[in-house]
């Protein structure tokens, strides 16, 4: 008999197809399930497994309400801020995520923001859409060259290291700060700063790849933006909560920051629209993992975890072991 699965979120067609083929699956093809809808579906379907994403908050109360026949909850994301891990652990629920598979595409997106912000690509595209028709003086509308610049990376995990690798192709000097220094084979010549603040004055470009949580909440604020050199470029494709947006808007408005590229915001999707009124910021709608290849890979990875646990094997990506 096939394992019984509830998919609480709309998924790309290839993932939906596989869920349908390999599982006795209750799918969300029309709309995503909210918490009550998910709990009802899991109960009715007597599900062995739950496939969900960060729009469902599995807090202690939600986990307590999950029926005992649910053996595994697989989040289709690398982040797990939306899950109360101690509560899941206490209940004996296996929880998995989808690391690694989104590293490259997220690093690509961060690098696209770096290039777009430095080279003002979204402003240029905005000039083109009404038809261009106007010559620029040789000193007008200039961006800054990204190649050869000092690139500061906060958070040198898989994604941070993938961004560093891309930066090296542009002859950038890589600086990084993290809770621990990396071994030389992963560091690849990057300069480590134990103190994040000491790194900031040396960053022509700063990109964030740190996890969320109380330690990093608002780590970019008026003081830390002030430590960046005048004319720096700032990119965040990690977590909106890392940034005090009031301070960011002030730094963009004063020109202390040349430009910013943002894929994540404190509130999503109803982000602070004052950002949208600024010309020197490029905004994308949290699309770090937004390629067909990666979204399929994430979905498949979540299904792989579910299949393993339902077959009595260990999970591939357990949040704890």
């Amino acid at each position: 008999m096939k394992p019984r699965l509830v998919v609480a979120r709309r998924t790309p067609p290839a993932v939906t197809e596989r869920a349908r083929t390999e599982f006795d699956a209750l799918l969300s093809e029309e709309k995503d399930l909210d918490l009550d809808g998910m709990l009802a579906a899991v109960g009715q379907h007597r599900a062995d497994a739950l496939f969900f994403t960060s729009n469902l908050k599995l807090n202690a109360e939600a986990i307590a309400r999950l029926p005992a026949h649910v053996k595994i909850a697989a989040t289709c994301s690398v982040g797990f801020d939306h899950i109360d891990v101690p509560a899941a652990k206490a209940k004996g629920l296996v929880v998995t995520n989808t690391p690694e598979v989104l590293t490259d595409c997220t690093a690509d997106l961060a690098f696209t923001l770096i290039l777009s912000a430095c080279r003002r690509m979204h402003e240029y595209d905005g000039i083109m859409r009404p038809g261009w028709r106007r010559r620029f003086a040789m000193g007008e509308m200039l961006g800054i060259r990204a190649s050869g610049k000092r690139l500061g990376i906060l958070g040198m995990g898989r994604i941070g290291r993938a961004v560093a690798q891309r930066g090296r192709g542009f002859g950038m000097q890589i600086l990084y700060s993290d809770v621990q220094r990396l071994p030389p084979e992963l560091e690849q010549g990057a300069t480590y700063f134990e103190d994040f603040r000491a790194m900031l004055p040396q960053c022509d470009i700063l990109t964030l790849h740190a996890p969320g949580g109380p330690r990093t909440d608002g780590i970019m604020n008026a003081e830390t933006f002030g430590l960046l050199p005048n004319g720096a470029v700032f990119v965040n494709a990690a977590r909106g909560a890392l940034v005090d947006e009031e301070a960011l808007i002030a730094a963009l408005t004063s020109g202390h920051l040349f430009a910013a590229g943002l894929d994540v915001f404190r509130k999503e999707p109803d982000f602070d629209t004052r950002l949208a009124a600024l010309p020197n910021v490029i905004l994308t709608p949290h699309m770090g993992s937004g390629t067909v290849e990666t979204r399929n890979a994430m979905g498949f990875r979540a299904l792989d975890n579910i299949a393993a646990v339902c077959a009595g094997r260990p999970a591939i990506d357990p949040l704890w072991s």
């Binding site: 595409c105 777009s116 595209d125 003086a137 961006g143 800054i144 709608p285």
Partner: protein, 320 residues
Amino acid sequence: MGKPVLLVTRQFPEAVEARAARDYDARLNTKDQLYGPAEIIRLSAGADAILCASTEKLDAATIAALPASVKVIGTFSVGLDHVDLPAAKARGLPVCNTPDVLSVATAEISMGLILAAARRFGEGERMVRAGRWIGWKATELLGAQITGKRLGIFGMGRIGRELAKMARGFSMEIHYRNRTRLDPALEQGAIFHGSDESFLPVCDVLSLNAPGNEATRKWLNAARIALLPKGAVVVNTGRGMVVDDAALIAALRSGHVAFAGLDVFDGEPKLNPAYLGLDNAVLLPHLGSATVETRNAMGFLALDGIDAILAGRNPPNRVV
């Protein structure tokens, strides 16, 4: 003796104009008006040198009519399509350009366009800025992955090779089409193709970095586009004339070419208006070299050439 007189035909970056004014009695164009041949001839009366850009057409008649005092022309460009070089040579008038210094900035725009087009930055940006972002969906606005894809570079000169270096950081497999095969030291593992038929079918991403001339006019036409894999990404930062616009627009509409990023256009700034409504194209107004660092370097290099000629030396960027 006073400073030599320099006619500056366009508005150039601040640092470049400051240097021109320091070293020369500089006739600046503070309103950035476009000068025709008659104005150039009139304004260069008594000038020792001219610093121009590719917007000034220096044809044979104009060069012949320049006052005898003009001893050198420095152009703020790599391209020399706007200068009649045989006429300059016949007159014994040295011309200096600005090679090399814009390769990196232009390659950066190529890589930026590859990424921005494939990751649907134009659409995403417009959606967020207009307040039309209503939530994350696993299936919405999905782009194409770039890491690990095959990149085909048409024209493996300095800019193409800089682009290859950048793309290797994204683990791309580099293929190229060029008149001649490069030396292995320059090739760096890139795969040479001797025919369009072998080259185009491997281009998940095609970047045009070739010069514009009769051999490359409308090179990317319907027949060649059909040889690309379905869903390919096309980027052009070389010359607009290399693309058959009608054919590319048709392919973007059908989805055979999934995404395009274009910095140059045939007949620019009057580009084919059908591009303007295409959501799967990122469009830039020919700003491949538009960084402060690069534009300053271009201006300084052109001025270096002028300085050298007036001092009786022979600069490396002298083309005539």
